[in-house]
């Protein structure tokens, strides 16, 4: 009896420690977001919209938000740009990845392993080594500065077939006997792809589209290089980075926070809604590499 009681106390103590740890960690992990939200509501009368040495604003105001939507800022335009880019990249990239994955997973053809090895090696080059050359190629067809948005979509989609690993891993788990049975019944490979495999791949399609949709919101390197100096073609990352890192970032600090909140809320909501698919993709991808 005494021993059992001791055991109970032991687990209760363990759980208490675990709860305390979790609470502390949660606070650390959420702290920056709470800060961003608090700062975004600070009135410009305090510190002129710059950084201040306290956390909770003395007067709350929506001034930073209303400024974002005023004619002085390009924020709405940037948001629109990023949304368009993200939407089309998600669409194109998902199609390309599905196409490549199906071909590499379900069919065997001469040069298949060569193609896979070649792309693997190619993927080891730092991506933006190709930046200078791509910039010129795009400039030649008018897809930089003013035309940066279609240009960025093109760059984002064109070489995306190389990111087939997770999706191919998923296709590999769907039994091949299904294909064979359908082929005996006279279905063509195209038909198998469209009517059999795609409906089965809903989770991986959503995962691919979600990852592809979220990436352009963080894309700084290519976006800043291709839209160079043309503010109307910036995406949110380039625009807000400039706000924080120009010399007068003091004045733009609360505006940066407000912009950050407006971007983070819809993206986070979308992510949370599709979290289940994301977890599946991440777990599957980690094991298969």
């Amino acid at each position: 009896m005494a021993e059992q009681k001791l055991h109970k106390q032991h687990t209760a103590l363990g759980n208490a420690i675990a709860y305390i740890l979790l609470v502390i960690l949660s606070i650390i992990w959420l702290f920056p977001f709470v800060c961003i939200v608090l700062q975004s509501f600070r009135a410009p009368s305090e510190g002129g919209g710059g950084m201040v040495d306290y956390l909770v604003p003395k007067t709350f105001s929506l001034a930073s938000y209303s400024w974002l939507f005023s004619a002085d800022s390009n924020f709405v335009k940037w948001f629109e740009n990023t949304f368009i880019i993200a939407f089309f990249i998600a669409l194109g990239q998902t199609c390309f990845v599905l196409m490549v994955s199906y071909a590499l997973s379900r069919t065997r053809f001469a040069g298949r392993t060569f193609l896979m090895k070649f792309w693997l090696v190619l993927g080891m080059f730092p991506g933006f080594l190709s930046m200078i050359c791509l910039y010129f190629l795009l400039k030649n067809v008018g897809l930089t500065q003013a035309g940066a948005i279609p240009g960025l979509i093109l760059v984002g989609v064109a070489s995306s077939g190389m990111g087939y690993y997770v999706c191919k891993g998923f296709f590999d788990t769907i039994p091949k006997t299904l294909d064979e049975a359908a082929r005996i019944d006279g279905a063509s490979r195209a038909r198998i792809f469209f009517t059999m495999l795609l409906p089965l791949s809903k989770p991986i399609i959503i995962y691919q589209a979600l990852v592809a949709f979220m990436a352009p919101w963080c894309d700084y390197i290519f976006a800043s290089y291709i839209a160079f100096g043309y503010s109307k073609s910036y995406n949110v990352a380039v625009g807000l980075y400039d706000w924080v890192n120009t010399n007068d970032y003091q004045g733009y600090f609360t505006r940066f926070c407000a912009g950050g909140v407006l971007i983070a809320v819809p993206i986070t909501a979308l992510f949370m809604a599709l979290q289940k698919y994301y977890v599946e993709g991440v777990t599957g991808g980690a094991v298969k590499g």
Partner: protein, 459 residues
């Protein structure tokens, strides 16, 4: 690497042998096809295929005659006449543009390789047709050909666009940049007004040379930090993530989903917002400093980003904040897959928690997540966002070349070389070396992965 090159050589040798055999055993139609592509199919009344091959050849010859040959011939010098202004008449004579010469040269070379591939296909085609006719079969009609693109050859239809995209947007630019590494293309040789030309291995020598105008010390500093960073970033987030997953999975902890959601939120929020904010938080006039001074922990504000050591440690610590939730998410799923009877029998044998963790959990996790660790390590070698958004590569120092700082990775240095000092030749060298570092680590690690060495280990 050696095995691969043997493979490639083997493939080439096999192809050449096959071509020879085809020529020897081929009828006259096949043999003429060696010179006039598509001749054989046309004579065998397979018009669509024959015409396609013929058109490819005509187009290629036309292109080579009009532009291709001159593009290739200019490659040897990358232009001879510089753009200059006559001092008396103020008339500008536009000279050669080395950038374009190199770019078009590379494009033409790629086209030539493609043409050889088509020529090879054309020979294969002849061989196949001959065989079909020999067996008394009939050649597929054009409609059958088109249909096969949705069936037996569906892979070709699917891969056409993605492969073309990779070719134009990855292969050509990378070949171009590899070439640039062997030229003197930099701020002093900026196309179109100035010429640049081949300099052999000069750039690599400069990169490895210590003293003088060499960059040996900058390069080694950055390389070592890149490797150290990748090591700590990968393993700290890995073990942190597993620990967090175990903590949340602990028996008796309620609201597991809520805890998980709190941490997962950090993945969803775009990094440039959170990282930029956190970087400002630790600045000299940031929140952390002002509160630490207020509470009397620091005497006066301490700029974490201005000292190499604190900046480096801070980056690794802050990276935990980014990376741990991701690993936690992954580990949660995997931990549930560990067969429960393993733990059960361990408990009967009197093992304590730590022993079970060490003997069951960790080996299992390392086994299944080996590939993840590898991709995560190589990903961290090239982790541009975290470094650039947190410290911008700083603190910079006069001891380091090209505006690079003590937290710069090879990739961020490469980025700065391109953008700030337009030193394309060195940027290209750094890019190639980055590739070598990634390739070598992948090769070494790949052969040691437990899941590769021993596939059945945990099944």
């Amino acid at each position: 690497m050696k095995k691969n090159s043997n493979n490639v050589l083997g493939i080439i040798a096999g192809n050449i042998k096959n071509i020879g055999v085809t020529f020897k055993e081929g009828d006259w139609k096949t043999r003429v096809s060696f010179l006039i592509m598509g001749f054989g199919p046309l004579m065998r009344k397979s018009f669509a295929r024959g015409l396609a091959y013929l058109l490819i050849q005509v187009a290629f010859i036309f292109y080579m005659a009009t532009e291709g040959i001159s593009n290739l011939s200019k490659l040897s010098t990358l232009g001879t006449e510089e753009t200059h202004m006559d001092p008396n008449t103020f008339l500008t004579t536009y000279g050669d543009n080395s950038f374009l010469i190199l770019l078009y040269g590379v494009l033409t070379a790629v086209l030539c390789v493609l043409f050889v591939a088509f020529w090879r296909l054309n020979i294969q085609e002849n061989q196949n047709e001959q065989e079909i006719i020999k067996k008394g079969g009939s050649l597929p009609t054009a409609t059958q050909d088109l249909k096969s693109l949705l069936d037996q050859k569906f892979h070709a239809t699917l891969l056409a666009l993605p492969v073309l995209g990779v070719l134009i947007f990855m292969v050509v630019p990378i070949i171009f940049m590899i070439c640039v590494a062997f030229t003197n293309y930099d701020a002093n040789h900026q196309a179109p007004s100035k010429l640049f030309t081949w300099v052999g291995l000069e750039n690599f020598k400069q990169l490895f040379q210590f003293g003088g105008n060499g960059m040996g010390s900058t390069f080694t500093t950055i390389l070592i930090w890149t490797l150290v960073w990748a090591f700590f970033a990968t393993f700290s987030t890995y073990f942190g993530g597993i620990a967090l997953a175990l903590l949340i999975n602990k028996k008796g902890i309620k609201f597991k989903k809520l805890w998980r959601t709190i941490f997962v939120m950090t993945i969803a929020i775009p990094q440039f917002i959170s990282l930029l904010y956190v970087s400002k938080m630790f600045a000299a006039d940031g929140l952390i400093n002002t509160y630490f001074v207020k509470w009397g922990i620091f005497e006066r504000s301490y700029n974490f980003w201005a000292h190499p050591m604190t900046a480096r440690i801070l980056i690794i610590v802050l990276n935990l904040w980014i990376g741990v939730p991701y690993v936690m998410l992954m580990a949660t799923g995997l931990l549930m897959n560990i067969p429960a009877d393993l733990y059960e029998s361990a408990r009967i044998d009197g093992a304590n928690r730590w022993q079970m963790f060490k003997k069951i959990t960790m080996p299992y996790m390392l086994f299944v997540t080996g590939p993840y660790l590898l991709t995560s390590f190589t990903g961290n070698l090239n982790n541009f966002n975290v470094i650039y958004l947190l410290s911008g590569g700083g603190p910079t120092s006069l001891k380091l070349y090209g505006g690079s700082g003590y937290t710069d990775l090879l990739v961020t240095w490469l980025y700065k070389l391109i953008l700030n000092s337009t030193n394309y030749r060195l940027a290209a060298c750094v890019g190639i070396l980055t590739f070598i570092v990634v390739a070598v680590t992948s090769l070494i690690a790949y052969n040691r992965l437990p899941s590769i060495k021993d596939e059945e280990g945990f099944q």
